[in-house]
Symmetry: C2
Subunit: 277 residues, 2 copies
């Protein structure tokens, strides 16, 4: 353990300067690293083997969360003490929590992830808002999805806001970044997953699909951006275009709500199937 | 129609100064009015009888959305032309859309709303974040809920961010503000609604409740804040404490996702019941 209350890193220490650069996408890509901040995210990061390269803590945060230094030591992760001011340089939030981990990029090729035979996958196509993508990661995790695919010109999953909004789920799931949405869908289908595109104008009603028992099969749900929806080529590539029924007068659901309803509909159907062999 | 390209209201015109004050909660309460901005929200407001007291439009917005002035005239709502600068004074967003309606508060007493015999109601207990409450309004509307109750020390539903995030749904639903959460639940129960409290630690699994056919009955779903959950007295007052099952390793769902899953589970069960008399 380096630093220590007398020798703490400041925002001018080269290691802090280098880490603070990871707040920018270009520097994240170059280093293949990103920052996770806050005790919850860092705890989940430390629980994932090989994810954390280095842990920075203020004295106050170290005292408040002694489990983090214990976990870091057990995982062989170097811990450095930092000043409150250095914590401010490493974070985008107004009230830094004094715990920041430098993490290695986690994404893996789709082909590798598919060898694990996932039964539930979420695909985000050109979703640009980190405040939308992060919560979908969390919901996908809660619904038991094994993987989330960021396809096309999507938000960087390692964006600070996305990492925070995922509430640690980024470290639980298999993460894929795929440049080509239609190719990704073809690969998913080739691996035996039924590809369902969620779209307000879908010809298939989600409830009817559930009633027909069609949701128990291994499924990849595909979601588009709130502003632009799904590209025509993606809609064509999907096995079904599915609409969440609108019972009231709202024009549509937001992305987070639509993903929650669709992924949980599959989770329920897959759970039923496990109970009734 | 007052103003006109030559006599447009500026940010110093007394009517604009008075309207701009409605960005503050205290002034909204005093006036019993609030602001709705953007073509979508204003369109929905104009469609609700008696909701809009006055409409402000920039020339550019008036040209882009001629349906708004037509609808305002049909509803007998006075329309005034404003400068782009005045539009900036009336909005909290970075890029004002040039359309702002001064609306009357819409909420009604719970007892009045219950006389309409709603079958699906969402109750937000001490939810403080407008960015959480607004999307729940939209989801509740989409799921076919007839009413949303803001109970206890909750966010002001007329807060600009909440109005924007509701995407017009604020004007579709019966809105109730109730100071006392447990009293509100007792009233809902007295009106024959089954009161279900959504909580991560609930003893009842949502899927089991659905399997048992218990969700087809008239239901009030109760949601708490993400930070604090539901108060003990509210949990006690509910008929059931229900957890959305967590299939993966996420600690919990966010409020918007939990509300979407719960409200749509009820919507599906109530729809099934309508189909099979």
């Amino acid at each position: 353990m380096k630093g220590g209350p007398e020798g703490r890193f400041t925002r001018r220490t080269p290691r802090i300067v280098a880490a603070a650069k990871l707040r920018r996408r270009r520097d994240r890509e170059r280093a293949g690293q990103f920052l996770a901040e806050g005790p919850q995210a860092v705890r989940e990061a430390l629980a994932r083997s090989g994810a954390v390269r280095e842990l920075f803590l203020t004295e106050r945060a170290g005292q408040r969360h002694p489990d983090l230094t214990t976990a870091a030591r057990a995982a062989g992760v170097p811990v450095s003490w930092i000043t409150e001011d250095a914590a401010g340089a490493l974070t985008e939030t107004v009230t830094p929590q004094g715990v920041v981990a430098v993490c290695e990029h986690l994404d893996r090729p789709l082909a590798t992830v598919l060898r694990g035979r996932p039964r539930l996958v979420a695909v985000l196509v050109e979703v640009a808002e980190p405040g939308n993508a992060g919560p979908v990661l969390r919901t996908a995790d809660a619904a038991g999805a094994q993987a989330v695919v960021f396809a096309g010109a999507a938000v960087d999953p390692y964006n600070g806001k996305c990492v925070r909004a995922s509430a640690g789920s980024l470290f639980h799931l298999d993460l894929v970044r795929h440049p080509e949405p239609t190719t990704a869908l073809a690969q998913l289908r080739g691996a035996g997953l039924r590809v369902l595109a969620a779209t307000g104008h879908g010809e298939t009603d989600l409830d009817h699909l559930a009633d027909a028992g069609a949701l128990a099969a291994p499924t990849a749900w595909v979601f588009g951006s709130e502003a632009h929806g799904l590209p025509a080529a993606v809609l064509t590539e999907a096995d079904d275009r599915v609409r969440v029924p609108i019972h009231g007068r709202a024009e549509s659901l937001n992305l987070g709500a639509a993903a929650a309803v669709c992924l949980y509909a599959s989770a329920r159907a897959q759970r039923e199937e496990r109970r009734t062999p």
